[in-house]
């Protein structure tokens, strides 16, 4: 188990490194950064000064190493827009994005897993088809549009929830619900599929032969075995939610990391963009690692492998 974790950690580190390079290369796409920073109406002299001040006249590999080394120490550069350390900017906004993501995942799990279980138990019946319909609708729904519709309907027409901002905790509800929509279809399908397979297994027949109650059979014996792929996907979904938070935060004007990223992209604030891409990738990698460990916990066979 230790060897397995070690290997996975090594792989994760390698992926982080690659993403570091990609993230760096990304912001160099537009060609001359100095011109972009200097803005309109800058003279050649101004651009040259900027280029020198930001170290943009150094060879590319050196720029990368400087940045990478600093990033490893937590120094993610300074924002062009805010003139503050990027790390600080991100740190201040991270709680909002994390709360949103966890809330969204929570809602998704609470809806998807019971739905999947019921659909599996009543396979082929109207309930199963209804669950499938919910999944298919959730998959097709454009999240930003759903957000706007909910704002109009629940926020404006019915005045039930705030239409933007986070003055109160209620401001989290609509965005979290919209976020959960993207995860519910896959989680529900996975739970349903996993439960159908588990319920068809030999050990379930043994459990019935032992005279155990239906609840025990479904929830204790079948679910435990069906849960494993769901856990892995749930972690990945959280990663996607955090990465995709930019859209929701823009729609609901929530000042989280996604909103920060959007601002930075619109205003060419490269240090921030680089840092956010890197951060989200690292979080995703961490989540998949956590999912692997959780799987090992759930499946005894992996522990002694």
């Amino acid at each position: 188990m230790l060897r397995f974790l070690l290997r996975r950690s090594l792989l994760a580190a390698l992926v982080c490194l690659t993403v570091l390079v990609i993230s760096f290369a990304l912001t160099r796409l537009s060609g001359d950064l100095a011109t972009a920073i200097a803005g309109q109406g800058a003279t050649a002299a101004d651009i040259a000064i900027i280029r020198h001040n930001y170290g943009l006249d150094r060879p590319l590999p050196e720029q990368f190493l400087t940045w990478a080394a600093a990033a490893a120490h937590g120094d993610l550069g300074r924002s062009f827009l805010y003139h503050e350390p990027v790390a600080g900017l991100i740190w201040a906004r991270l709680p909002i994005t994390l709360t949103l993501g966890l809330l969204g995942l929570g809602i998704a799990l609470v809806v998807a897993i019971p739905l999947g279980i019921v659909a599996a138990l009543r396979e082929g019946t109207a309930i199963d088809r209804a669950a499938g319909l919910i999944a298919v609708i959730g998959q097709a729904m454009p999240s930003f549009w759903l957000g706007l519709i909910l704002i109009i309907w629940l926020g404006l027409k019915l005045q039930l929830l705030p239409i933007s901002g986070l003055e109160s905790w209620q401001g989290y509800i609509m965005p979290a619900v919209v976020l959960s929509f993207s995860a519910i279809p896959s989680l529900m399908r996975l739970t349903r599929g996993g439960m159908i397979d588990a319920l068809a297994a030999d050990y379930i027949r043994t459990a019935r032969a032992k005279g155990l109650s239906q609840g025990s059979i479904v929830l204790k014996h079948a679910l435990r075995n069906a849960a494993m792929p769901v856990v892995a996907i749930a972690a990945v979904q959280l990663g996607f939610m955090l990465g995709g938070s930019i859209v929701i935060e823009a729609v609901f004007a929530l000042h989280g990391v996604g909103y920060l990223a959007w601002e930075s992209i619109s205003k060419d604030d490269f240090p921030v963009i680089q840092a956010v891409v890197l951060l989200l990738a690292v979080i995703y990698i961490g989540l998949t690692l956590a999912a692997d460990m959780l799987n090992a916990l759930l499946d005894p066979r992996l522990r002694t492998a």
Binding site: L26, L29, S30, Q139, A261, S266
Partner: protein, 276 residues
Amino acid sequence: MNVRALSGFAGVAVVGLVTAAAIAAPWITPWDPFAQDLGARLIPPAWMDGGSAAHLLGTDQLGRDYLSRLIYGARISMMIGVLTVLASGLIGITLGVLGGFFGGLVDDVVMFAITCRLAIPLILVALTVVALVGSSLTVVILTLGLLLWDRFAVVARTTSMQVRTLDYIAAARAAGCSRTNIVLVEVLPNIAHHLIVVATLEMALAILLEAALSFLGLGVPPPLPSWGLMIAEGKDYMFFSPWVIVIPGIALFVLVLGINLLGDSLRDLLGGRAAR
């Protein structure tokens, strides 16, 4: 008729209709989608108060006919969907088959590439690229095409690995076929049906992503009538004229739903637990 078949037909019908509308756009649109008429702004759809038969779905904030914009928007969505899938499919299937069929170091590299691709936040990177390179239809298609290959790769890899061990591959090698020949003639046709299902799912995803990018202002540039862009442009007026965002949103939803239903029924038809 059972629900499965019904939803399959619905999928085919929707996709067929939208494709037909997209192709026939120049001939069926009542107005020029780019023609502004500032005297006729924000006219509601024909069935609401103040609507008129001249503009069946009303006009937007610049007086452009909504129905015409919607139909041309279908063109954009379909183009994005098809071209992106072609590009990402090419990349993903090549990588996946290479990794799955040859195994060993090649496979390790392919798996590593897929993992890296999955770690990258998709929308962020797409937005950044468009922001830096400039927004246009081509840039969006290329960007999404270069990013959306992961599921193709995963499914192509898994299915190639399964096929690799089957007897007819060994028979082909024994008969002296070159490996290129085997991959093209024996492997690809037998994994194609799984990949078709993935193609429909990725097409739906590409369309949704383009809409999101355009909504955020970093996708297809105005005045092109991308549905996502129409929603963004209508956002400022949505409280008083909600149809401005409701209509393109429904169009998006219906198209993506249709493609997903089509993909689902293809998966059922072609059998097995293909890509999920």
